[in-house]
């Protein structure tokens, strides 16, 4: 009885995780409606951490609340929600682009490191799940409670980019070494 309950709970969790990853994936695709494809391609540099903090800032909300004007409060909530969703979609799209580049480079690489590939894939899937969670949570509750998760996504995306950069640098070094030899 307990075993079947655990199985059902596990299946539900797995389905939820899949839904969140799919949501992140879809969120990334929606960026194409917000920004032209060429802009998306250009913007490999992520937002600065201080900008991410600002988008999810509670200090700005406290300032707006202090004005005691419902119209401004509603405008603020609406605007910050929109900007936060753009940031999530952008982060998601950037990381998908990094993964595409990585897959391309990996196909040409003769000796792949299994542990590094697993590490990159795990971080990519985590990031997609975080982006999906952020996207849903922002739409439901707004961005003001999600600063910590957003900072985590920001750090994770930088880690994946660094891993891909070091992977690419390794391939280049090997190619140069082979060229000389």
């Amino acid at each position: 009885m307990i075993g079947s309950a655990s199985l059902v709970a596990g299946a539900v969790l797995l389905l939820l995780l899949l839904a969140v990853v799919t949501k992140g994936w879809l969120a990334a695709r929606q960026l194409q409606d917000v920004a032209p494809a060429s802009r998306e391609e250009d913007e490999m540099e992520p937002c600065a951490e201080e900008v991410v903090s600002r988008i999810f800032s509670r200090a700005d909300w406290e300032f707006v609340r202090g004005l005691k004007a419902g119209r401004i409060e509603r405008l603020f909530e609406q605007e910050r929600k929109r900007v936060a969703l753009v940031w999530v979609r952008q982060t998601s799209a950037t990381i998908r682009k990094v993964m595409r580049e990585h897959a391309e480079a990996a196909r040409q690489s003769a000796n792949l490191q299994f542990s590094m590939e697993i590490n990159i894939l795990a971080q990519f899937l985590t990031l997609m799940a975080v982006c999906g969670t952020l996207s849903m949570a922002i739409q439901i509750a707004g961005p003001l409670w999600l600063g910590g998760l957003a900072q985590y996504a920001q750090r994770l995306s930088q880690q994946v980019m660094k891993l891909q950069e070091s992977f690419q640098a390794g391939i280049l070094a090997k190619a140069e070494g082979a060229g000389r030899g």
């Binding site: 937002c47 600065a48 201080e50 800032s57 707006v64 119209r71 605007e79 910050r80 753009v86």
Partner: protein
């Protein structure tokens, strides 16, 4: 020309940047006004910056790079500042303008001319944050103005 005579381009851009900061930008009050000024030195069609005085003292290309650098730096500062600080920036800009306060606030809300002040290669999310914050700052200043008008009529 010997190797030693070749000017270091990076140092020259920095010199042009310092010159721009000292002679022009320091005389403008507020980062928002500086941003609008720098954006106005950019050609709408080519996206290239031009400043006669700076181009005369340095090369046109160097001057353009210094202007672009200043534009980008001031924009980043404004995009990352708090909403309260941005409200103050917009307030300074409106107060220093020769047009009436009501007129500027109304036109800025309708035409959103601040969108033209974005640097070319700006990150989409940062650009959205800036535009959104200026929109909010304008709404807050309009509200303040309405409250002041109501207080004045009541007393």
């Amino acid at each position: 020309m010997t190797y030693m005579e070749v000017p270091d381009k990076r140092v020259t851009v920095e010199e042009a940047y310092d010159d721009l900061s000292r002679r022009s930008l320091s005389k403008i009050r507020g980062d928002l006004a500086r941003l609008i000024y720098l954006a106005s030195t950019r050609d709408y069609n080519t996206g290239k910056y031009h400043h006669d005085g700076l181009a005369a003292r340095f090369q046109a290309e160097i001057a353009g790079q210094a202007l672009a650098q200043a534009h980008s730096e001031i924009f980043c500062r404004l995009a990352a500042c708090s909403l309260q600080e941005l409200v103050e920036e917009v307030d300074i800009y409106v107060s220093c303008s020769q047009q009436s306060r009501e007129e500027i606030l109304e036109v800025w809300q309708k035409l959103e001319p601040y969108r033209v002040a974005l640097p070319v290669d700006v990150n989409v999310a940062v650009a959205q944050l800036f535009v959104s914050n200026v929109k909010l700052a304008l709404a807050i200043l309009c509200l303040r103005q309405q409250l002041e008008a109501m207080e004045a009529s009541a007393s």
